[in-house]
Symmetry: none
DNA sequence: GGCGGAATGGAAAATCCGTTCCCGTCGTGG
DNA sequence: CCACGACGGGAACGGATTTTCCATTCCGCC
């Protein structure tokens, strides 16, 4: 017994089963087939419920797990659960190994790979969660704006700064509220309903950003928020808001997803504006 | 009590929490935040394990569930599990939209996918090309530095700004040369051989950045360059230089790879510095 | 046809887990 | 200053779930 075979990931298990199935006892084959056909059931069910569905005894599930080298049923079930957590099979394995090894030594290259992975994960997650409708609404508002005010402090500042670089290249009038010399409020003083504020803030939300966004909203300035949770204090003041959850690696969060979103917004607005009838000037 | 509020789906719960959070007791707020930030943990964990992660008592989880109108913790957990069963149905459809040529108009979602794609490509390419030796040399130099000067203008500015945010968090002395009021040269005036300059510039290389990097190098300041080609004018002045080639999408280049590199450098230096003998002060 | 070992079913036992309950604390209003 | 109620911590309870164990069955081999 017990060669040390117990794949931690679903793919490995799949492979193992493909090899072993023929040599397995009849009931265990039955379990194997059921497990591959209904992995979600295995992930969520209890031993009893799964056994009933697969038409075997609960004890058979335990035997199955042990025959494959797992500590018990729960251990095996962990593999099925893990699969559902990481909906992105490509990155699943990589991040695992990285987290394991990163505890060992601080090899700079390993850190780099870690940040690359968390950036990639953030990107993929955003791709799956951002709503096209929200995007279009935001683009619509932005395209009609006179001036686009850009507000992001601390960790969010790089994104605002990037927009301040990109928007003028697209011939869009924008103004970076960088709060230099604490002149943030003055920088925004003349923003009105025909303008837009893009406010960016992540946990822990910078009070200055929140406060200025609130003031702006009260002055009738439409607010587009890029933030990271439903609980964001920016949300109540925002016309449209985007939830971008960035993965972290060792307490430092990626910015890749937010930046990509910012770029997409900028270019989309640029294109839309080009298609719009020329503006007639303010007033 | 018990108005009949207990959304069966995740979106409904999200909305409910967004409304109710403020009127919830402190611990329950804490649970709400954790749940929204780590829905997968809630889906698979046990009450005890979730409680530990959220830093509350298991009983608080039950209170939380009941306060929201659920029968108990398990009932609430069902909502989180349900969410995972729902395969992201629109993902396939989204990809089809992306590849669908008839939809050739300016679909913002397609732009977003495009930028995500180019960011991912940049990340992957960097991962394959960055040299571990260069990284270690750079980390070594940075870890011994007195003050880390950060120089990046225009498109490179977000990276410098991010480092200015991250380095102090790692207890490293740094100074962002933002060139406000054209005071860049003065900001760097006292940099010397015991300091380091991190200079970041991409095609078309901002003359100001190149010039200041040259001056610094002549003053004996070690320079670490992040740039995008062997022909970069930064290279001649740099002790260590990184070539990061970012992919572009419609004339806008990603920043993800450079940012990940910056993060990795920062954290690696932080770790190395922690391992180094304490500094003896300048002079 | 009988024997032996593996496989299986089923139920008991041990474990784990969610829930409840009680008590101490804090803040508030009388 | 006290009384009250809401809140929160923690332990104990009861239920559910996994695991173990043993009797029985099945199957191949002598």
């Amino acid at each position: 017994m017990s060669e040390n075979t117990s794949p931690r990931d679903f793919e490995g298990l799949k492979t193992l089963l493909a090899e072993r199935r023929e040599i397995l006892p009849r009931r265990l084959q039955q379990v194997a087939e059921f497990a591959m056909a209904h992995p979600d059931e295995v992930a969520f069910g209890t031993a009893a419920s799964i056994a009933a569905l697969a038409d075997v005894q609960p004890s058979t599930l335990v035997r199955f797990a042990k025959a494959l080298g797992y500590a018990g049923f729960s251990d095996l079930q962990g593999v099925f659960r893990h699969r559902l957590r990481e909906r992105w099979p490509d990155y699943e394995e990589r991040l695992r190994t990285l987290n394991d090894v990163s505890h060992a030594g601080h090899d700079p290259l390993r850190l780099l790979f870690g940040f690359v992975e968390s950036a990639a994960t953030s990107l993929e997650r955003m791709r799956q969660t951002i709503s096209g409708d929200d995007l279009e609404r935001a683009v619509d508002i932005l395209a009609r704006a006179d001036t686009i005010y850009l507000l992001g402090q601390r960790r969010a500042f790089p994104i605002a700064a990037y927009l301040a670089y990109a928007l003028p290249k697209l011939r869009l009038r924008s103004l970076l509220v960088d709060n230099v010399a604490s002149l943030g409020p003055e920088q925004m003083a003349y923003a009105g309903p025909r303008d837009v504020l893009v406010a960016i803030s992540f946990t822990p939300y910078t009070p200055f950003t929140v406060e200025l966004a609130r003031t702006a909203a009260e002055a009738g300035v439409p607010v587009i928020a890029i933030t990271d949770s439903v609980f964001s204090p920016l949300r109540p003041h925002a016309e449209v808001w985007f939830e971008v959850v960035e993965s972290d690696f060792g307490s430092f969060r990626s910015l890749s997803a937010s930046l990509s979103l910012a770029m997409a917004l900028a270019v989309a607005v640029g294109e839309k504006r080009a298609a719009l009838p020329p503006k007639t000037g303010r007033g």
